[in-house]
């Protein structure tokens, strides 16, 4: 909503301008722990990334923590210890992976423990089933064809699914163009509750356009209510009008992690579908 407000106000005044603004560096107040963890019912879609916050104007990756102890246990008493960067790749410093073959099981509750510098950070989340994506179809967008933002890309990919009406579901979507994660806007997060969703989800377009021979892929993740809250808060923070002019004052996203760590332990079932534009 606040985006609409700011955009409208700017459009009305049509004179308003923007310019770079220098933030007060003194506000930096030490490093905090950041944990980004994903546990799903699919192999290869598992990781725990441990890092720290960095100064606002720094460049490059934030500091990674390679020497934490990471374990996951489920409500049946099984425990799994994670290994730091088993592939030894430079990109994956601070990334911990479970034993090969590990997958989450729908219905179970998982508990994450990250120990670093004598502090234990814990989180719990449940693996809920996900609504399958039925099919994808391709449609030419004539308006976009007239003036494509990206040369040759004017095909919409439409998603079809059936939303179960007798249960409460929360979703997170990720969209890929030729296997690279794509957004209409870099601060977009595609998540939803089902309060207002009807049973027939017929033809919601993916947020980006595709060209001939592009591969389109969607991943749908189930979220717990806590996961929905986290992504909703994260979206609000990323898209805040800063300082609560019209919208709320920016705040730290609520998380399932303990000890004031930032980030989230997301446990999801995943359904996916892809199509090649022809």
């Amino acid at each position: 909503m606040k985006n609409i407000l700011i955009v409208s106000l700017i459009a009305i005044t049509f004179l308003s301008c923007e310019e770079p603004y220098q933030l007060d560096e003194e506000l930096n107040d030490g490093q905090k722990m950041v944990i980004e963890a994903l546990l799903t019912d699919r192999e290869e879609m598992q990781f725990v990334k441990v890092s720290q916050t960095s100064p606002f104007y720094s460049s490059g990756n934030s500091p990674r923590i390679p020497n934490a102890t990471v374990t996951v246990s489920d409500n049946l008493g099984n425990a799994f210890s994670y290994t730091h960067n088993p592939g030894g790749s430079d990109d994956s410093i601070g990334v911990y992976l479970p034993p090969a073959g590990f997958v989450g099981v729908i219905g179970r509750t998982y508990k994450l423990q990250v120990e670093y510098d004598d502090v234990v950070y814990e989180a719990e989340d449940q693996l809920l089933p996900v609504t399958p994506v039925d099919s994808l179809t391709i449609e030419l967008d004539e308006e976009e064809q007239e003036d494509p933002e990206d040369a040759g890309r004017f095909y919409e990919v439409l998603i079809f699914a059936e939303e179960p009406q007798d249960e409460e579901n929360f979703y997170l979507f990720k969209f890929y163009r030729n296997d690279s994660l794509s957004f209409a806007n870099d601060s977009d997060i595609y998540y939803s509750d089902d309060k207002l969703l009807a049973e027939q989800i017929d033809g919601i377009p993916m947020p980006v356009y595709f060209g001939v021979s592009d591969k389109a892929k969607v991943e749908a993740y189930s979220l717990s209510r806590a996961g929905y809250v986290f992504y909703n808060d994260l979206w609000s923070l990323l898209n805040n009008d800063s300082g609560g002019m019209f919208g709320p004052i920016p705040a730290t996203p609520r998380t399932n992690l303990s000890n004031k760590a930032l980030g989230f332990f997301q446990v999801s079932a995943v359904s996916m579908a892809d199509i090649i534009v022809e």
């Binding site: 009305i12 506000l27 960095s54 919208g247 709320p248 930032l262």
Partner: protein
């Protein structure tokens, strides 16, 4: 608190004893009363001073232009004086009750003529009421305005003790109160959102406004329902002598008003309309984004005799936005007032009003797969009975009863096309009934001391039909675990709140030119805006006090010194206040206030306190007129569950504010206007670092409002040209040229952060680098407006 109750009881007892004493002695007196009007157009004048120097007794006309003064039998010189009008003095034989309607002549028409003024009593010094400002429309018209569109809210924002959120908004904040703590009335009907175009303009069309007053403290007992201020806007009654057409063509909008008599001197009407035409420019520029707003005001009044007067007033206004064929939204207010003034006898005056108000907004998407329509509204209906009784020259009693019913419909959403992914959903409605009884007496205790004391009893009920959800933990907004549902039938009380609101004011006259005043008021607010932002927007909904939400309460004490110089040419005042808020409504960090059935889990109520000092110099007469004010203030909040329970500066906290407005009438052809404003920057919550989550780079947020935007300052200028040929013609034209933000100061509207991008919005750098950007709304901005009258 038993102690408080005892005090209250004592206060009430003393009050009624005083009334009794007064009634006994009242019999030997006679009463002078009547209405006071403008001689040219028959408009009733509010706040005219009526003064009998021999007795050192006086009064002012009430909101309906009526006055009543009870004095011992005799023959007296009676003065009638009003700012901007010539003083008139009559010798009146008061051997029996006398009704005398007076017509005052405006000074504006004969600028060159010297006005002989006996020392007029000045409201500023003499009146018991403090912390009140009147916006003089004549003066406002001489001052610069954004896009040349005269706007009283923008002038209200320039008053001492009033803060604006920045430019381009209609929100204002009075003495530490938040944006929803102002009761905004148009002809007694509440306006729930006074903004057009998100606040660039207000809903008040300056052409039809007769008078507007804002009470910031010492609020009279007849007002209630909001904590911080009452903005009372009255529209014109319409010229009851001649037909007249006024209008204007501006940069942003045009307006026209027609007024005239229906029955000479007995009945008149006024109809006015205003519409913006920004959409025409946008359409011409081939933009998909279109926007417009309009206002229509109409008023009819009928005065069959001096004892009975009837008014019907109507207002409607709307904003309509559309983005191509796909998406649109709009909002609007509609109010209606029926009013009956009745004079029972020479001393007892009654005003009965029946008021209806509706505010609604609508969002709509016509997308094939994601089409929806969202509608929300708030309706209010009330009946008010206000009486004033001039007991004797030393006592004037006011009492009344108000009843209000409200229906809150927070939202109803549904698909608006067959293939939409949305289903129908509806929020439950909320209902509230509010009774208020008040009584107050203004008593002249001695030559020097006058007091005004009263009390308002507010009885508020949140009623069914409706469901109340019970939670395992009513503050857990993550899990929101419901344990039970309580059902209430229609009219069944869900929760009732009874509050006694004492009001007190005192004036001590040091001499004719200076006085000291004190006031105390308790205010109670039972409607709460569901907004976690600083500036209320039309898409915010309101909730009544309910099972979870307690009434907000504010106690304010204020003291001031008032002095006039050079025969009331200059008014000077200094006022200090301390205001304590209980149960001030705020929301949890990250609160979800849009479409949340469990919104009660987001409520957080707590403490706030505000104090400040306001200095003002006002020059109301002469070629150069204007106002200079300085305000020092501080506003803090401490609320459990907000900002980790730590004290923080309120969003509308500003340490220093300076405002200067001046107009200079060079001659009858040229008038120059200027305004300067300076204020400490707005508090803002800023990033103190960043973190990584997937491809996102969110900010680290530590505490609320620890940073300040740069100070805000700006100069606006205007020139008004009244061509000399006006004098000989019926058609009177006027040109107003303005420059907004004359030195093109880049005042920050807001600051936001993003991943480093180029101008086209493509991410640059390593994808982890961030930058902060400042948005400012208006560079230097010229405007031209043409006004006419015939």
């Amino acid at each position: 608190m038993p102690n408080y109750q005892t005090n209250m009881l004592r206060f009430l007892l003393t009050g009624s004893l005083t009334f009794l004493t007064i009634l006994v002695f009242a019999q030997e007196k006679v009463t002078l009363n009547g209405y006071i009007k403008d001689v040219d157009n028959g408009e009733e004048l509010i706040g005219v001073t009526i003064y009998i120097p021999q007795l050192k007794a006086g009064t002012i006309t009430n909101d309906y232009g009526f006055y009543a003064l009870t004095v011992p039998k005799g023959t007296y010189e009676v003065q009638f004086s009003y700012i901007g009008y010539k003083v008139q003095t009559f010798t009146i034989d008061l051997s029996a009750n006398v009704s005398r309607n007076i017509q005052l002549q405006s000074e504006a028409e004969q600028m060159a003529e010297i006005v002989i003024t006996e020392r007029a009593l000045d409201e500023n010094v003499v009146n018991v009421q403090m912390s009140k400002n009147t916006v003089n429309m004549e003066q406002v018209r001489k001052l610069p305005a954004l896009f040349g569109e005269v706007d009283i809210i923008k002038n209200i924002q320039m008053l001492p003790g009033v803060i604006s959120a920045g430019e381009g908004t209609s929100a204002f904040f009075v003495r530490g109160g938040s944006g929803d703590q102002n009761l905004i009335l148009i002809d007694e009907a509440p306006v729930y959102d006074p903004s057009h175009l998100f606040g660039l303009f207000s809903v008040f069309n300056a052409d039809v406004i007769k008078d507007s007053e804002i009470y910031k403290g010492g609020i009279p007992s007849r007002f209630g329902g909001r904590l911080s201020s009452i903005l009372d806007v009255r529209t014109k009654d319409g010229n009851n002598k001649d037909f007249a057409v006024t209008g204007g063509i501006g940069t942003m909008a045009s307006r026209v008003a027609v007024e005239g008599p229906i029955v000479q001197e007995k009945s008149s009407f006024i109809v006015s309309a205003r519409r913006s035409y920004l959409d025409l420019f946008l359409r011409a520029a081939n933009e998909d984004f279109l926007v417009h707003f309009y206002d229509v005001n109409a008023k009819l009044n009928f005065k069959p005799n001096n004892r009975n007067r009837f008014f019907v007033a109507f207002y409607t206004g709307r904003d309509v936005f559309s983005f191509g064929d796909d998406f649109g939204f709009g909002w609007g207010n509609m109010t209606g007032t029926f009013r009956w003034n009745h004079l029972f006898n020479d001393k007892l005056f009654m005003n009965t009003s029946v008021i209806a108000s509706n505010f609604d907004y609508k969002l709509e998407s016509k997308d094939v797969s994601q089409g929806f329509e969202w509608i929300s509204n708030l309706q209010e209906f009330s009946v008010k009975n206000d009486l004033s009784f001039a007991i004797n020259p030393k006592n004037e009693l006011a009492f009344g009863y108000h009843v209000t019913g409200r229906r809150f419909a927070p939202g109803e959403v549904g698909p608006n096309a067959g293939g939409s992914i949305f289903k129908e959903a509806k929020f439950q409605h909320m209902y509230a009934v509010d009774h208020a009884l008040y009584v107050s007496n203004q008593q002249q205790v001695s030559d020097r001391i006058t007091v005004d004391y009263g009390v308002r009893l507010s009885i508020f009920q949140n009623v069914g039909n409706g469901d109340v959800y019970l939670y395992e933990d009513p503050h857990d907004n993550i899990r929101k675990k419901r344990t039970d549902t309580l059902h209430f039938d229609s009219w069944e009380t869900i929760k009732a709140y009874v509050n006694l609101e004492p009001r007190f004011g005192m004036r001590y006259a040091i001499d004719q030119q200076q006085s000291v005043k004190l006031s105390y008021n308790r205010m109670v607010q039972n409607t709460h805006l569901m907004s976690a932002g600083t500036v209320p927007v039309p898409f915010n909904t309101w909730n009544p006090s309910n099972y979870y939400l307690k009434p907000q309460i504010a106690d304010q004490v204020a003291a001031g010194y008032f002095r006039n110089f050079r025969q009331n040419m200059y008014e000077f005042s200094v006022e200090g206040y301390y205001k304590d808020f209980d149960n001030v409504t705020d929301f949890a960090d990250n609160a979800e206030l849009f479409f949340n059935e469990d919104i009660s889990t987001e409520y957080r109520q707590g403490d706030s306190w505000a104090y400040g000092l306001e200095l003002m110099v006002n020059k109301q007469k002469g070629k150069l007129t204007g106002m200079l004010s300085y305000t020092w203030s501080k506003t803090e909040r401490k609320i459990d569950g907000v900002n980790l329970g730590r004290t923080f500066d309120a969003n509308h906290d500003r340490r220093n504010v300076v405002n200067l407005q001046a107009a200079y009438d060079l001659n009858d052809k040229w008038t120059f206007g200027g305004a300067f404003t300076y204020s400490t920057g707005r508090p803002i919550t800023m990033a103190s670092g960043k973190w990584e989550y997937g491809s996102y780079n969110p900010d680290v947020i530590t505490e609320r409002n620890t940073h300040r935007l740069d100070a805000f300052h700006r100069i606006d200028l205007s020139v008004t040209l009244n061509p000399r040929k006006n004098l000989s013609r019926k058609w009177k034209g006027q040109w107003v040229f303005g420059v907004y933000n004359a030195y093109s100061r880049k005042n920050p509207f807001t600051v936001y952060t993003r991943t480093k991008q180029d101008d086209e919005g493509n991410v640059i750098g390593d994808g982890r680098e961030k930058e902060a950007r400042m948005i400012y709304l208006f560079p230097v901005l010229p405007s031209v407006t043409y006004n006419f009258k015939f």
